[in-house]
Amino acid sequence: MSICTQSTHKLPLFDRYGGLSALRHVIMLFYDRVLDSDVVGDFFEDVDMARLIDHQTKFFTMILGGPARFADERLAAAHAHLNVTHAQFDEIIMLLRDTLETANFTPADRETTVAAIEARRAIIVTGDGPCSRMTSAHS
C-alpha cells in the first residue's frame, strides 16, 4: 500500500531542450533576428537591453513551460503603445519559427511554441494593419 509520488506527465519543452541553456540559445538567436529585421527591428532599436531581455526571458520561459508566469495583462501593457500590426506579428512568428529551427526544435515542438504565441495575437496586435490570415493582399 503506497502513495504514488512519480509524475507520469510529459516533461515541458523547457526541460526537454535543456532548460536555461536552451532558453539562452533561443533568446539570443531571436534577439539577433528581430534586430536584423526591417519589419520589426525598429521596435527593438532603442529599447533598454536588460529590460527587453528580462521580458523575453520570462515570456519564453512561460511559453516553453518553464518556471515563470507572464500574465497576459503584462504582455498587453508591454505592447499597448507599439501599435503592432498583424503583418509585424506575422514577421515575429516567422522569425520565431526560424529561430526554433536553428535551435533544433522538432517541427511539432516548433508548432506547439508558435501556437502558444499565436494564441496571444489579439493581446499583442493593436495596430490597424491588415491581418494576413484574413486578407489575400498580405504575403
Binding site: 500500500m1 534586430l35 531581455i53 526571458t57 520561459t61
Partner: protein
C-alpha cells in the same frame, strides 16, 4: 611561424577590434575591419576623439594608463557594449597607443538573462515553499504527524498495528431530519463549528481525529504514540464533547444531541487509496465502538465494563448490563457519567 601576410589577415578579420593611435598627434593611424564596423566614424588621420566620439580626453588618458573603459556604440540597430583597453608601443620612433576592444554585448545580455531567470526562480521557489506548507497542513489534517513523516521520507506508508488503543465514535441524533428541516447550509456550517471544537478538545486529550463521515466523528487515543491511559483520555474527551454540546445548546437555536461509544482494542492504521487517499484505522475496536455508540441514548457515552478499573476514579458507570453486540456476542456494557468534583476528591 606564421607569415607576415597571414598575421595581417588575422588582425584584419579577428573578432577583436584593434586601432592604432599616434599619441603625439592624437590621430588614428590604422584599425582593423572589426574596429571599423564598430566605429563607423573611424578613419586614418582623423582625431581619435572624433572617431570614438563617446570618449573624452580623460578616457584616453585612462586607457593610456592601462585602465579599461566600457563604451557603447551602435551598429545598425544594435547597441554594442565594447570593453576598450590599450597599451603603448613604439613604431620607428613614434609612440603608438594600441586600442584593443572586446565586444561584451553578448556577455551583458547573458548576464541580464541570468539575472532575470534567477529572480524568476527565486519567486517560484518562494511560491513552491508556500504551496508545500499548505499541502503539509492539508496532509497533516488527513494523517498523524508521524505517518506524514513516514510518507514524506519513503513516499509510502506501511500499515501498522496499534495496540492497545481506544476508539471514540460519535454520531448525532436526528441529523438527517435536522438537515432536511432546516436550511442545509446552516446545518452543515454548524456541524463544521462543532467538529472544529471537537478537534480542539481531542487535541487537548491526546486524541487523534481519524475521520468524519457525514455527522459521524471518529477519534483514537494511543495512536500513533502508545499511552497507558488511552481509555481514560478517550473518556475525558467524550465527556468534554458532551459538555460542550450542552453548553452550546443553551445559546443556540438548533439543539445538537450526540451518542458516543468508546471501545478499546487493537487497530491497524494505514493510508488507503492512491489518487484520493485517506488515513484510516481498521479493526475490532472500531466496529465495537460503533456498536456501543448505537446503544447509547442521546447525550450518553457507552463503554465496555472491562475498562471499569481505569475509569472509576473519575467516572461513574451506570446502567451496567449485558448486551448482545453484532459480531461480538454478549458483552458487559455501561453508561459513563462524570463524577462531581467533590465526590472525586473524597
Amino acid at each position: 611561424m606564421f607569415s607576415h601576410d597571414f598575421s595581417t589577415q588575422l588582425i584584419k578579420t579577428i573578432g577583436v577590434g584593434i586601432g592604432l593611435v599616434d599619441t603625439a598627434t592624437g590621430k588614428m593611424v590604422s584599425f582593423n575591419e572589426t574596429f571599423g564596423i564598430w566605429f563607423a566614424e573611424a578613419a586614418p588621420e582623423r582625431p581619435v576623439l572624433e572617431c570614438l566620439d563617446m570618449l573624452d580626453a580623460d578616457d584616453i588618458e585612462s586607457i593610456r594608463a592601462g585602465r579599461m573603459v566600457e563604451l557603447k556604440t551602435k551598429v545598425k540597430r544594435r547597441t554594442l557594449i565594447i570593453e576598450l583597453r590599450g597599451h603603448l608601443a613604439d613604431h620607428m620612433g613614434h609612440e603608438l597607443l594600441v586600442l584593443e576592444g572586446q565586444n561584451i554585448s553578448r556577455l551583458r545580455e547573458t548576464e541580464a538573462m541570468i539575472d532575470s531567470y534567477a529572480t524568476m526562480v527565486d519567486r517560484r521557489t518562494r511560491d513552491l515553499e508556500r504551496e508545500k506548507t499548505q499541502v503539509e497542513k492539508l496532509l497533516l489534517n488527513l494523517m498523524p504527524q508521524s505517518v506524514y513523516e513516514e510518507y514524506r521520507t519513503f513516499g509510502s506508508v506501511t500499515p501498522r498495528l496499534f495496540e492497545p488503543v481506544s476508539v471514540l465514535m460519535l454520531d448525532f441524533v436526528g441529523f438527517t431530519q435536522m438537515a432536511a428541516a432546516a436550511d442545509p447550509t446552516v446545518t452543515v456550517s454548524e456541524l463544521n463549528d462543532i467538529f472544529t471544537a471537537f478537534d480542539r478538545i481531542s487535541e487537548m486529550h491526546g486524541c487523534e481525529r481519524i475521520k468524519t463521515v457525514g455527522d459521524c466523528y471518529m477519534a483514537v487515543t494511543g495512536l500513533p504514540h502508545p499511552t497507558t491511559d488511552h481509555m481514560l483520555s478517550a473518556a475525558r474527551c467524550a465527556a468534554k464533547m458532551l459538555r460542550y454540546l450542552e453548553h452550546r445548546n443553551h445559546t443556540h437555536q438548533h439543539k445538537w444531541s450526540a451518542r458516543i461509544g468508546i471501545a478499546s482494542g487493537s487497530v491497524v492504521g494505514s493510508v488507503v487509496g492512491v489518487q484520493k487517499y485517506i488515513y484510516d484505522v481498521f479493526g475490532p475496536a472500531v466496529n465495537c465502538a460503533a456498536r456501543l455508540q448505537a446503544l447509547s441514548n442521546p447525550m450518553e457515552i457507552t463503554v465496555c465494563t472491562t475498562a471499569r478499573a481505569e475509569l472509576e476514579e473519575e467516572f461513574e458507570l451506570k446502567n451496567a448490563r449485558a448486551e448482545n453486540l453484532r459480531g461480538f456476542g454478549e458483552m458487559r456494557v455501561a453508561c459513563l457519567s462524570e463524577r462531581a468534583p467533590a465526590i472525586r476528591a473524597a
